[in-house]
């Protein structure tokens, strides 16, 4: 299953698309930002990418016309690429709702795993210039990257990567939905009420999971706050840069009435225009950083889901154990004739007299059966619980390492972005300074 020490991670290489050039941080073409473990068997076999997005119109479930976006999933055998030939990849189109279906399936089927999150359904934490419209091309593009990232995360997970439904999601366009429903996974889903109930009433959850859940809460809260603050700051920064564009206009107009100052002013004005324009690229890159943070915002949710599932299994174990104890107690009472605890039976027997030995015998027998069954159940649930705790903790540890690594990388790339922004600023203002000194 899991290696003792994780193999070195390599940035995943997107498949050659018409816009794609080098694999580097500087490429404008957005690429996935996850570090992919090449060790899984699936990724050894195939390369996966979400290459394109397209708008479609069609009739929906209630027979109304709607416009939606579909995404092209391309897969290609690994060997072909490395041999130098470039065969046409296999591909199929999927829409967002199908990704959601896949993920829900994975959540139910592998409740002990921290299942990678999907990119957000609707644009949130936007600053004003960024559109909140789902049809906006920039949003669609960022979502394309997010979906690719999701697929690569799943494909690089030691357990999830071998799931058959996942594989057919990537390879079988038609009939996949039916296949998913046929697994009956929906029936296995825990009701929210059941889960909530367990959270409140569980008595002895594993401390580590309780701490993890708390951590998940904190992570979600602090990343939300960071995204909000960042969006507002981005808005303001946009304003600062754009107002400098006015310098360009006024300098240009002013240069028209000056003789010796004219040239210097005019060229300085151009640099001011360039400065104002540069903010668009800067903020686009920052959105990329925001997307990395968002992924972990949503991951926090997945983490908490695992913890909640633990609470549920623990609770069910506790319930079964409690039930067993009470049944054993009843047996004891019946056997010894003493009523230690208040029970309706005790009251009625007091009122209406003891039951006959035959009745008692029958009851005892029934209790014995129930107790046997109860013990089986407790054993079962105990095993489930232990198994869950074991597997879940392994995956949580894996997740922790992944998170630490990815977020550190994100912070580093943020610093690199800031540096690039500063360098651009230095260049523009040095140029402007030169023009000004020629005024």
């Amino acid at each position: 299953k899991q290696d003792a020490s994780p193999p070195p991670r390599v940035p995943c290489k997107p498949m050659p698309t018409k816009n794609n050039l080098l694999d580097s941080r500087q490429t404008k073409e957005k690429r996935s930002f996850c570090m992919v473990e090449k060790g899984t068997s699936l990724l050894k076999k195939m390369e996966i990418s979400v290459a394109e997005a397209e708008k479609r119109t069609g009739k929906n479930a209630v027979n109304m016309q709607e416009t939606y976006t579909v995404y092209l999933i391309e897969t290609r055998p690994v060997d072909a690429a490395s041999e130098g030939t470039n065969p046409v990849p296999d591909s199929l189109w999927r829409r967002y709702s199908e990704f959601e279906l896949l993920r829900n399936y994975l959540l139910v089927t592998y409740p002990f795993l921290v299942v990678p999150p999907l990119p957000e359904k609707r644009a949130e934490f936007v600053w004003h210039k960024l559109s909140a419209d789902n049809m906006d091309p920039d949003f669609v593009e960022r979502r394309r990257v997010g979906l690719e990232n999701f697929l690569l995360r799943v494909a690089s997970h030691p357990d999830l990567s071998s799931d058959k439904i996942f594989y057919s999601f990537l390879t079988e366009e038609n009939g996949w939905k039916e296949t998913v429903f046929e697994t009956g996974f929906q029936a296995k889903a825990d009701s929210r009420l059941k889960a909530l109930n367990a959270t409140f009433r569980v008595k002895n959850p594993d401390k580590r999971f309780a701490e993890m859940k708390h951590y998940g809460d904190e992570l979600q809260s602090v990343i939300s706050q960071l995204l909000r603050v960042r969006a507002r700051a981005a808005d303001r920064l946009y304003g600062v840069y754009k107002v400098h564009g006015n310098y360009g206009r006024v300098f240009s107009e002013w240069s028209a009435i000056e003789k010796e100052m004219g040239d210097g002013l005019q060229s300085a004005g151009h640099h001011m225009d360039a400065y104002a324009a540069s903010v668009d690229d800067i903020l686009e890159e920052e959105e990329h950083y925001a997307d990395q943070l968002k992924e972990y915002l949503f991951y926090a949710d997945a983490l908490r889901a695992v913890c909640r599932k633990h609470e549920l299994t623990q609770y069910e174990l506790e319930m079964a154990a409690q039930d067993l104890t009470s049944k054993k107690q009843q047996r004891e009472e019946l056997a010894t004739g003493t009523i230690r605890t208040f029970s309706l039976k005790g009251v009625t027997s007091k009122l209406f007299g003891q039951e006959t030995p035959e009745q008692r015998e029958a009851k005892l027998k029934m209790l014995e059966t129930q107790i046997e069954e109860g013990e089986e159940l407790v054993k079962e649930r105990n095993a489930e619980c232990e198994e869950f705790v074991k597997s879940a903790w392994v995956d949580i540890e894996r997740f922790k390492e992944q998170k630490d690594h990815d977020l550190r990388e994100a912070l580093i790339s943020y610093a690199i972005m800031q540096i690039s922004m500063c360098k651009k600023g230095i260049q523009v203002w040095n140029n402007a300074k030169e023009c000004f000194s020629k005024m």
Binding site: D235, V243, W254, H405, A415, I416, A432, S437
Partner: protein, 463 residues
């Protein structure tokens, strides 16, 4: 006054030739003044941030502030304004500034002076200079206190900004070939407070000033008929320049506003990263580091905003006021011309009247009286005409002087404006570069710390 001063006097018909045209290579010859220290280029004058006398704004340090592009003569007078102090009397509270002068000019009794002056005194000086030279361009003073955006009159920043502007004002006067030899200027720099007060009272009376104003209004109402093309061009330029400089002032103020709002948001980022670091183990250190970097960038941004407000905006604002001054100067010149035209017309009319009247009544009266009353009238007319002719000559002289003064001061002003605005923008660009360089260093140090960490653990490949 030093030797080859720019010749702006009336008698020279071609005064602009006296100003050297190529002065780009002129620098101060240090051998002539060995008591002047040479400081490295610093921001002594523009960077006084404290309220007290320890600022290095001595006259000696100003030597680096000025490019002597127009005057071939060496600078022989240095003026500084500093050390604001508050004075409380029964009636009012006001601020005085210390004005220090260092000079080698012979008309000054000594080589160093120190006096205290208040804003009103500066206003007086400006008024006197404008009165004496209506078509020369006097650099504007910072405005009187205006209730705008909750600026208190005794707010430190306001006082400091005003001090800098007053300093610039006096230096512009000192650099001006005509103004710097004004008696009023000398008294302003040297007289004790009591002396100054009594000198102020000696000015032309209120009534005579009123009389001049009335005449000016009358001339203005009449309007100028034949304005020379070059002055019309000047006016068009001033209109356009005024609009542009007002726009620049507005744009810069807008930038400051936007940057302040950006700063407000940015200030919340650092603490959020710090908060996050508290939930993390491995990530705690890089997160804390990032928080620190963001906070440091905040500080730099704050300073950057202050720089714009303290340095660029006041200069732009002064040139907005300059544009108004130019308009007033052009108007005054127009009035002088209108006055001259009016007098020319009046004289012509009078002469015409004399010619027509001379034929009438001569025969009728000649026989009755010994001396013909017509002669008397003629005599009277002659006298009037002579008076008007003298008046007209004076008006013509005044006009010619005004035109020449304006033309040469205009050229001078344009050079000064160019220098001032160029250095203000170059300065702004330099500060921006410095700001980005500092932020760059902050983030590079973060990268460096992460690099040494990572390479130590063999984790990440940075290539």
């Amino acid at each position: 006054m030093s030797g080859s001063v720019v010749d702006n006097t009336v008698s020279s018909g071609n005064s602009s030739a006296a100003i050297p045209t190529d002065v780009s290579g002129q620098i101060l010859d240090l051998d002539e003044d060995d008591d002047l220290e040479v400081f490295s280029k610093d921001t002594t004058l523009t960077d006084g941030s404290s309220f007290n006398a320890s600022m290095q704004t001595s006259p000696a340090s100003m030597i680096n502030q000025y490019k002597f592009e127009e005057d071939a003569d060496t600078k022989d007078i240095f003026v500084t304004v500093d050390n604001p102090e508050s004075h409380v009397t029964a009636i009012e509270t006001y601020i005085t500034y210390r004005v220090m002068t260092k000079t080698t000019r012979s008309e000054f009794d000594s080589s160093e002076f120190e006096v205290r002056r208040r804003y009103q005194d500066f206003l007086w000086l400006k008024g006197r200079l404008e009165e004496a030279h209506p078509t020369l361009i006097v650099h504007p003073l910072p405005e009187k206190f205006v209730v705008k955006g909750m600026v208190e009159r005794f707010n430190e920043d306001f006082i400091e900004t005003r001090r800098r502007a007053l300093h610039r004002f006096l230096n512009k006067i000192a650099e001006h070939p005509i103004f710097s030899s004004s008696e009023d200027f000398k008294i302003f720099l040297t007289a004790a407070s009591g002396e100054l007060t009594s000198h102020k009272k000696q000015g032309p009376g209120f009534l005579s000033r009123m009389g001049d104003t009335v005449k000016a209004v009358a001339a203005a109402v009449r309007g100028v008929r034949n304005r020379p093309q070059e002055f019309t061009e000047m006016q068009e330029y001033v209109e356009a320049f005024s609009q542009k400089i007002i726009s620049l002032d507005k744009v810069t103020q807008r930038i400051v506003r936007e940057q302040k709002e950006y700063l407000e948001e940015l200030k919340e980022c650092g603490p959020t990263y710090a908060l996050w670091s508290q939930s993390e183990e491995e990530l705690a250190e890089p997160l804390k580091n990032v928080a620190g970097c963001v906070d440091r960038c905040c500080k730099e941004t704050e300073e950057q905003v202050k720089n714009l407000s303290d340095h660029l905006i006041p200069v732009l604002h002064e040139y907005v006021l300059c544009a108004d001054t130019l308009k007033a100067v052009l108007r005054r010149r127009d009035n002088i011309q209108a006055d001259f035209e009016a007098k020319t017309e009046a004289l012509a009319t009078k002469k015409a009247n004399r010619d027509t009247e001379s034929k009438v009544l001569s025969l009728a009266w000649a026989s009755l009286v010994g001396r013909s009353p017509e002669e008397v009238k003629q005599q009277k007319l002659k006298g009037e005409i002579k008076e008007m002719r003298d008046d007209l000559d004076k008006a013509e002289d005044r006009l010619e002087w005004a035109n020449n003064a304006l033309k040469s001061d205009w050229t001078r002003w344009q050079k000064v404006m160019r220098t001032d605005l160029r250095s203000a923008f170059v300065d702004t660009a330099e500060r921006n570069v410095s700001y980005y360089e500092k932020c760059l260093a902050v983030w590079e140090s973060f990268l460096h710390s992460q690099r040494t960490d990572a390479e130590g653990n063999g984790k990440v490949d940075f290539s």
